[in-house]
Structure formats: structure tokens, C-alpha cells
Homo-oligomer: 344 residues x 2
């Protein structure tokens, strides 16, 4: 069977209406809602076809229709008409750049959640492929060294190293120079085994320390920051009955937002395969996570230059207002972009 224009229009009408009301929508509603001037009977026939083709579903015999995952998918892929959205709050929000990244991200999430009435998440930008800018060892205590590592983009990491041997000031200075001259400007991927052993050799009796420092560098850069996800508006989820019609489901969802592990997986999967616009939509069972099978997630990748890249996501029910969400995210992307290039 063919998906002709009329069927499209009807499908669209069904979805639009369902997005608004959350109730199954019947033929009579459509017949008035659209400008097709068709009677409810005709619509019924068409809807029957659409159901057969798998775009819509009848929850029970005498109810209207609701979109299936396939229907949503079709809608998202072909029928979105993006209204230009203004996210007023965001403008002011992003102009004070000197804030802590922490606070900023948290606030972006909050504004997104408040604006959309869905839940929002945002990851801290990752610095993959970024280069070391500065390393320094300092003695803090008799047996403790402080290693400070600065990565491009002014991300600072530090670790305390416990050492067995005493180091005098001079040795420390030498070590610092050694580390800096050899490692600065390199990305993590570029620090390989050969290089490490060369360094160790040069360090002579202090080779064990060099090893520890390098471990610390690797550890510091990969851990921590990259799984940091900020969320906001988890409570919005409770607003949608279809997501919380039993305690079990609600509890699982809330848990997803508290233990951010699941979200992390979602995001990293998203970062892997990327399409043109950087905006991606997961609908229901397309989600890799079982507990979110009644949700949809719209994710977008933002970029702050220097390869600093993070992900923003909106999580809501399948009947979320895709138009609005995609629009909002695009606006936000633009503003982040503008912001970055202005400050450059």
C-alpha cells in the first residue's frame, strides 16, 4: 500500500493531536481538525489503512488511535516543521562566561527543563584528543607529592602521590623539567609505552615516580570529568501519566536520573555515531535501555571549540513535542556557538 499525501496528512493530524492531548484520537476529531473536508467515515477507512501499515495503533477495540513507534519515527524524520524558538532565558544565561563550568551546566539543564517541561541532561564537555599544557610536581609533605596537570582548555586535574623515597628540591625541579619538556603538547593517545620507558630511563633512580605520574595523568584525564552528567527536571517525568502509571516504572525512571550511569551509556553511544545536524532522536524501543522504553530522548552535540564537545539531551514521553524540543535545542546550540566564537 502507498503512503499518499492524504494519508500523510491524516497521520500527521493524528500525531499532532495526540501530542497535545495524550488521548487516543478518533476519526471525527480528525475530520474537523484538518482542512481536508472529509467525513469521519472516510477518515476511518484511511486510519484503518494506516493501522494496517503499522503507523498507528488502537489501544482497544473501541478507542481512537495513537501513534506507534514507527509513526513517531516517520513524523520526526519527515514532518517536523521547526518553528523558530526563542529561549530568552538562555541569552542572559550564557553571557557571564567566567562562571564555573559546573554551575553553568547545571543552570543550562535547569533552564532547558523549565522551558520544555521535560527532563534535561547535559554532559560536561569532553576533551578528547586534547593536549597536555602543563605538568607540575610539588612536594606537599614528607611523603606526598602533588601532581597538577593542566590540559588544553584550562581543565585542571590533580592527584596526590604517595612516594617512598625522599626527593630534594633539586631533583624535583629536574623531574618537572623532564616531564614538561617531553610531555607538553602531547595528547594522551600520543603517550605510548616507548615514550614512557625513555622517560623512565632519563629519570634514573626516580623512574618509579615517573611511572606513577604518567599513570596519574592518564587516570586524571580519562576519569571523572567525562562521566559527569548534570540533570534537571526529573520530576517533570511524573507529570506524564503514561510514564508513571505504576510505581515500578516511575521508580525505575527516577532511578535513571539519580544513578546517572544509564544516561552516560546513552550519551556515549550517541557520541559514537553522529549524523549531520548533531541532533538525534531515540523513540521508545529504539532506546538501548529497557527502563526507558516508554520515553523518547532528543540529544544534541554541542561544541565549544578546541575539540571540547558535550551532549545535551531532553528526556520525555514518546508524545513529546518534538518540534519544540528540536527547536529549543537548535537555538541553544547556536547560542553556545556564537558565545564561543565571540569570546575567542
Amino acid at each position: 500500500m502507498e503512503l499518499d499525501e492524504r494519508k500523510c496528512k491524516i497521520l500527521q493530524a493524528v500525531i499532532r493531536n495526540y501530542l497535545e492531548t495524550g488521548e487516543p484520537v478518533g476519526s471525527r476529531t480528525i475530520s474537523k481538525y484538518t482542512d481536508l473536508n472529509l467525513s469521519s467515515a472516510t477518515i476511518r477507512n484511511e486510519m484503518s489503512d494506516l493501522e494496517e501499515m503499522g503507523y498507528i495503533i488502537q489501544p482497544h477495540t473501541s478507542a481512537g488511535r495513537i501513534p506507534s513507534d514507527k509513526g513517531y519515527r516517520f513524523y520526526v524524520d519527515t514532518m517536523l516543521e521547526e518553528k523558530e524558538r526563542e529561549v530568552d532565558e538562555l541569552k542572559g544565561l550564557l553571557t557571564q562566561k567566567d562562571e564555573k563550568m559546573d554551575t553553568l551546566l547545571k543552570r543550562v539543564a535547569r533552564v532547558l527543563a523549565a522551558n520544555t517541561n521535560y527532563a534535561a541532561m547535559i554532559t560536561a564537555p569532553q576533551y578528547r584528543g586534547n593536549k597536555l599544557k602543563f605538568i607540575q610536581l610539588s612536594r606537599v609533605d614528607a611523603r606526598q607529592l602533588l601532581a597538577v596537570i593542566v590540559v588544553e582548555g584550562n581543565v585542571i586535574k590533580n592527584t596526590i602521590l604517595n612516594v617512598d623515597e625522599m626527593l630534594d628540591d633539586e631533583t624535583l625541579l629536574k623531574l618537572n623539567i623532564l616531564l614538561n619538556t617531553h610531555l607538553n603538547g602531547l595528547s594522551i593517545e600520543e603517550i605510548n609505552l616507548a615514550m614512557i620507558s625513555a622517560l623512565k630511563q632519563q629519570a634514573g633512580i626516580h623512574s618509579s615516580i615517573v611511572g606513577e605520574v604518567i599513570d596519574a595523568v592518564a587516570e586524571a584525564i580519562k576519569s571523572d570529568e567525562d562521566l559527569k552528567i548534570y540533570t534537571s527536571g526529573a520530576n517533570n517525568i511524573l507529570k506524564y501519566p503514561e510514564l508513571t502509571d505504576n510505581r515500578e516504572k516511575a521508580s525505575e525512571l527516577i532511578n535513571v536520573f539519580e544513578e546517572k550511569q544509564t544516561l552516560t551509556e546513552l550519551v556515549s553511544e550517541n557520541l559514537a555515531d553522529e549524523n549531520g545536524t548533531g541532533i538525534q532522536v531515540y523513540i521508545g524501543n529504539e532506546m538501548p535501555v529497557q527502563s526507558m522504553k516508554d520515553c523518547s530522548v532528543v540529544t544534541a552535540t554541542y561544541e565549544l571549540g578546541e575539540g571540547m564537545r558535550g551532549t545535551i539531551g531532553i528526556i520525555g514521553p514518546k508524545r513529546m513535542d518534538y518540534d519544540k524540543v528540536v527547536g529549543t535545542l537548535k537555538t541553544l546550540m547556536n547560542q553556545l556557538d556564537t558565545l564561543y566564537h565571540k569570546e575567542e
Copy 2:
């Protein structure tokens, strides 16, 4: 009217029973439940008295009684019989100390939540009154200085300072020495204006930098860490119907756990006035926060020596198992204490 022993026993029985079932408890239940050997009729009379005295409440005419806030309060103050509790998981949990504080706290919260079936929160220890151990300025960029500040207890803070003037290596070294010799071993409170201006004077033309560093020190130490609260098990809240019988309430509560602001206030209030054991119980309307008026919170103060002190809290419905919670918290306190002193 007098609260004689029999009334006490009955009140206790009512509360115990209600804690278990969550249902209003009737006179017949009590008459069997207790070892008083009284008929339901007698119990009824006594319960009628207890109601008049404000310890229990009848939700509607033909229902059993449930404890009032006053009843709970009486129970908590006088009737808790603490069973010694073993929190097995915690033992192993705390033995790997070299973990990141972050992870540790998060995990403690998680174990607490899982153990109690309520929600748990824990604040990072605060370092009030702690002393500076180490300060270092390093040049990262032509116009950027990295200030690293280590505080007793090996808490590390860092900030990037943007500077206008170029500094050569020698000046930097001098500044470092200056800062360290003057500031090390001082607590924030001890760094006063007189000292700052003295420092500035010695720094000569670089006085503005000294000012900035001191600001950064102050800023770094007070901000951030002290409002960090880790929570776990917010979804447990959803298990208790009385907390989530309407969407509004549920949403507000979940929000409390996501925007941790409210919890912060609760905790700081708790830190202010402290009683003997360090354990404190808030019941229902005793809570300073309206949105938690159907909850109870049990908080405990933990100490890691060196004046590092934080708060742990369990949040649940008013009918939470106070015995168990208080016991669990005490055990945990002990273990934290032992842990610290062993490692000392």
C-alpha cells in the same frame, strides 16, 4: 490527664504497628498485639484518651488511629530501643580509603539507601577552621597563572588567574616563597586585612597579584565543596503511598532530591545546633521545609578528625523505622570513626 504506663504501652503498640503496616490500627489489633490482656473495649477507652491528649489521630470516624507528630516525637524521644545493627556492606566499603572522596561518599549514600529502603544523603566533610598547607603559583600561559592551594586533609583547590603583567620565572619564585612563608599553617579566619596589606607591600609592584591570589584562596576554600550533597535512593520515596498520593507531592519531593538546595539548608541548620549524640530527628512539620512535611529526617554528624565534619541523613515517611535507622547510622558513625583512627 496522666500518661501512665499502660497508656505508654498502648501508644507504643499503636506506633509500632503503624510503622509496620502503614494502616490505621484499631483497638482489637492492639488487644491481641500486646501482652496486657485487655479487651478491645478497654483499649478503646484508652485510645480515646490518647487521642484527646493529642498523641494519636483518627483519620475518619470509623477508622483506627495513626500517630500524630506529637506521638512520633514521644516515641522517638523515649521509646526507641536500639537494636544493635550490623551493616555488613559498610565494613568492606570503608576499608579502601585511597578512593576519591567523591566515589566514597556516593557509595556510602547508596549503601545506606539500599539498606534502609529510604532515601539517603551525605555531605562532603567541611574543613572549617582548617589550615593552609601549601600554595603554588605556576605560569601556564603568557597571561595565565595557575594557583594551586592545598588545605590540611589534602583537599586541593585550583583556579586560573588572568594577569595583565608578564612575570618572569624569578619573580614567580619569589612570589611563591612569599606566599608560602606567610600563609602556610594559617586558617582562613586568620588571614585578615592587616596581613594582606603587609603582603602586598612586600610584593611591591606585583601587589595586585597577591590580592588576587588571596581572593582565590578565600573563594576556593569556602565555595563549592561545602554545598556538595550526594544523595541516593530518591526513588525509594515513591514506595510510600502516603508521600506520593498525588502527583504534586511526589514531584515536589523528587525535586528536593534533584535540586539539593533544600537539603543543604536542612543540613546547615542541623550543623548549627547540636545535641549530645550527634543524631537528630525531624518529624513532619518540625521540618523547616514545607514540601517535606509528610516526611521524617534522621541526621547524624560524622567526623573524620582534623575538624573534618559532615552530615549524613536518612529521609523517609513519618512512619519510618526509627529504630533501624538510628541503629544503622550509629553503626556507620562508629565505623567511620574506627576507620579514621586506624589510618591515623
